[in-house]
């Protein structure tokens, strides 16, 4: 359990009820270890984002259990009322688009969550600058997101996701808006973060070219989550 970052047991998610009941996930069981980059692959509408949102304590499951690290956060009901605090302290989110706050500059975007967590401004800025240097955009610290390219913005978004030193990164198609070269760069970056910082990363992707860079693949088949190794065939791709 020590090495497990995410554990899901018999997770169920239904929408609606009666005739309009939609069964999205039916008894998902899986776990993601620290330092692992896992791709979540499934056809559109299969429930990838819903699964991500349940793990991220945003969407309430219908049943089952979820552990984030050692902490059990859901057992047929939320075990804490402070899901937002859990998100803020344990999880980093990366989206399709960068979704940076447009009225904050780069460093303010990155320091917002640490400062909300009570980290002093000076310390938060130090962490942010280290991250921006890591992603080679320290010179853009005072720039607004509108002044950056798509790739630069996405790097800032990743820096923001890491600023709270999360145990888990949930990335929802982080390469969807990028060209193939930048996409590979971003996924390699996520892999590096997972390995170096011992963070579990779940990345939703439709891009098969990204799969060889991942440690494992989770797919949703017949409303259940199935874990697959990256095959040699896929790796060659």
């Amino acid at each position: 359990m020590e090495n497990v970052a995410i554990k899901v047991e018999n997770l169920v998610k239904h929408f609606g009820q009666g005739d309009s009941l939609v069964r999205v996930i039916e008894g998902a069981d899986f776990q993601v270890n620290k330092g692992e980059l896992v791709a979540l692959v499934a056809p559109s509408g299969a429930g990838k984002t819903t699964l991500l949102m349940m793990i991220g304590c945003v969407e309430e499951p219908t049943g089952g259990a979820i552990w984030l690290g050692e902490e059990k956060v859901y057992d047929n009901k939320w075990l804490t009322k402070e899901q937002r605090k859990i998100r803020r302290e344990k999880i980093g989110f990366i989206f399709q688009a960068h979704y940076l706050i447009p009225f904050l500059n780069v460093i303010e975007n990155v320091t917002l969550i640490p400062q909300t967590n009570g980290v002093l401004e000076k310390e938060a800025k130090k962490i942010a600058m280290e991250l921006l240097e890591y992603f080679a955009i320290a010179d853009k610290a005072k720039a607004m997101s509108s002044q950056l390219s798509g790739g630069q913005n996405q790097r800032v978004a990743i820096a923001r996701a890491l600023a709270n030193k999360p145990q888990i990164i949930l990335a929802d198609e982080p390469t969807a808006a990028l060209d193939s070269k930048r996409s590979v760069d971003v996924v390699k970056m996520l892999k590096k973060i997972a390995t170096e910082q011992d963070v579990a990363v779940i990345m939703v992707t439709h891009d098969e070219a990204m799969l060889p860079l991942c440690d494992r693949i989770l797919t949703i088949e017949e409303k259940k989550v199935v874990s697959k190794e990256v095959s040699e065939e896929t790796a060659i791709l």
């Binding site: 984002t49 991500l52 949102m53 991220g56 945003v58 969407e59 937002r84 605090k85 859990i86 998100r87 803020r88 302290e89 999880i91 989110f93 989206f95 979704y99 706050i101 447009p102 009225f103 904050l104 303010e108 320091t111 917002l112 969550i113 400062q115 909300t116 401004e121 607004m144 923001r160 929802d172």
Partner: protein, 381 residues
């Protein structure tokens, strides 16, 4: 800690300032409306304050001379003068006349008084040129609003009147400019008829006995005498209506100005409600524009309190800036209004409190939107 409101306002400073200016102009109009009301109250009391009479004797059972027509005999002043406690008493007339002026005649209220009497209705502080009346006939003191100057000649009915003085700020309770003529001239202006009318009256056996009528006798009471007691004596023995200065002021402000002031009060209240709705709509729109960012902030764990603080601070800042712009706007334009507009600091502070309360109420609209925003909507669309 990052102040989100400060950052957001800085990011859209131009738009924010223009919005505040727009709301400020609306608030400026609210201030002007309040100033118009104050101006009416001041105008209503100008003549009373200038005459400085303790008692107003008018036709019995009337609220004269301002709220109702009042006709009494001029010689009543002699009878009143001998009443115990009376220091002085003089007759006054008030009538609306039109002064021939280009491009169009000027409507004024003419005050007739005895230039050699003890009551001078011309406040020396308002006299900006020339002097008061020094003769019994054919002199006139005008308000600067009439456009006449000292030395001008004004033809009225049968005679020419020489302008000997100009006043500033002297207006009737209805905000018409005041002119001053001698009591004899005023009576002649009021009761002089054409030759045909005089012949016609004589043929009917009518006599022009009105030429000695006046509208009121004003009296001052000797020190040490109770004004109400003296007034009661006049009522009892002379069968006239008598009002103290305070009662006359009440008649003017309550009977004459009250309805108009209520009208203005209604307009002011409606404008404040409209301003609140507009601020609320602006805040709602500003919140909607930031909805994506707000859901992202909620998703990544920013607490509601921080986002609500941002909305509330922006709303209060908008209200505060609008209040500043409103004051600047109202002070820039108030002198352009034809009637007196009096802008008082206490009124501005009252409006400030109202604006802050309105802003807090308006921010609730945006805050409700923030609380209801679903963080899950940030992802997948």
């Amino acid at each position: 800690m990052i102040n989100l409101a400060q950052k957001d306002v800085k990011h859209t400073l131009g738009k924010f300032l223009v919005t505040a200016m727009g709301v400020g102009m609306l608030l400026g109009i609210v201030l002007i409306m309040m100033g118009v009301y104050r101006g009416m109250m001041v105008d209503a009391e100008v003549l009373l304050d200038d005459i400085k009479a303790d008692l107003w004797v008018v036709q019995e059972d009337t609220l004269g001379p301002f709220a109702e027509a009042s006709r009494i005999h001029e010689d009543l002043k002699d009878t009143i003068r001998v009443i115990d406690g009376i220091k002085s008493a003089e007759a006054l007339t008030f009538q609306n006349i039109q002064l021939p002026q280009k491009p169009k005649p000027v409507r004024v209220v003419a005050v007739g008084y005895d230039p050699f009497g003890t009551v001078n209705p011309i406040n020396p502080e308002r006299l900006v040129a020339g002097h008061g009346l020094t003769k019994d006939h054919y002199q006139i003191v005008v308000s600067d609003k009439t456009g006449f100057k000292v030395g001008d000649t004004i033809h009225l009915v049968r005679n020419d009147y020489h302008v000997v003085g100009v006043t500033h700020g002297s207006v009737s309770s209805g905000a018409d400019p005041l002119v001053y003529v001698s009591l004899k001239d005023a009576q002649e202006l009021q009761f002089s008829y054409t030759n045909n009318r005089i012949r016609s009256d004589r043929a009917r056996g009518f006599k022009n006995s009105e030429a000695t009528m006046v509208n009121t006798i004003v009296a001052r009471v000797k020190p040490g005498y109770d004004v109400d007691a003296v007034a009661q004596d006049i009522r009892r023995f002379k069968h006239k209506s008598v009002y103290t200065a305070a009662q006359q002021k009440t008649i003017l402000t309550k009977n004459l100005v009250e309805r108009a002031s209520k009208q203005i009060g209604m307009f002011t209240a409606i404008l404040i409600v409209v301003s609140t709705i507009i601020i609320a709509l602006i805040i709602y729109t500003m919140t909607l524009e930031k909805m994506k960012e707000i859901t992202i902030m909620k998703l990544v764990g920013i607490p509601n309190s921080m986002i609500i603080k941002m909305i509330a601070q922006e709303t209060l800042l908008l209200g505060f800036l609008a209040f500043i712009f409103g004051n600047i706007f109202s002070h820039l334009i108030y002198s352009k209004f034809p009637k007196r507009v009096v802008l008082l600091i206490p009124d501005a502070w009252t409006l400030f409190i109202v604006v802050i309360i309105a802003s807090i109420l308006a921010s609730l609209v945006g805050i409700r939107k923030v609380i209801k925003a679903d963080p899950a909507s940030a992802i997948g669309g």
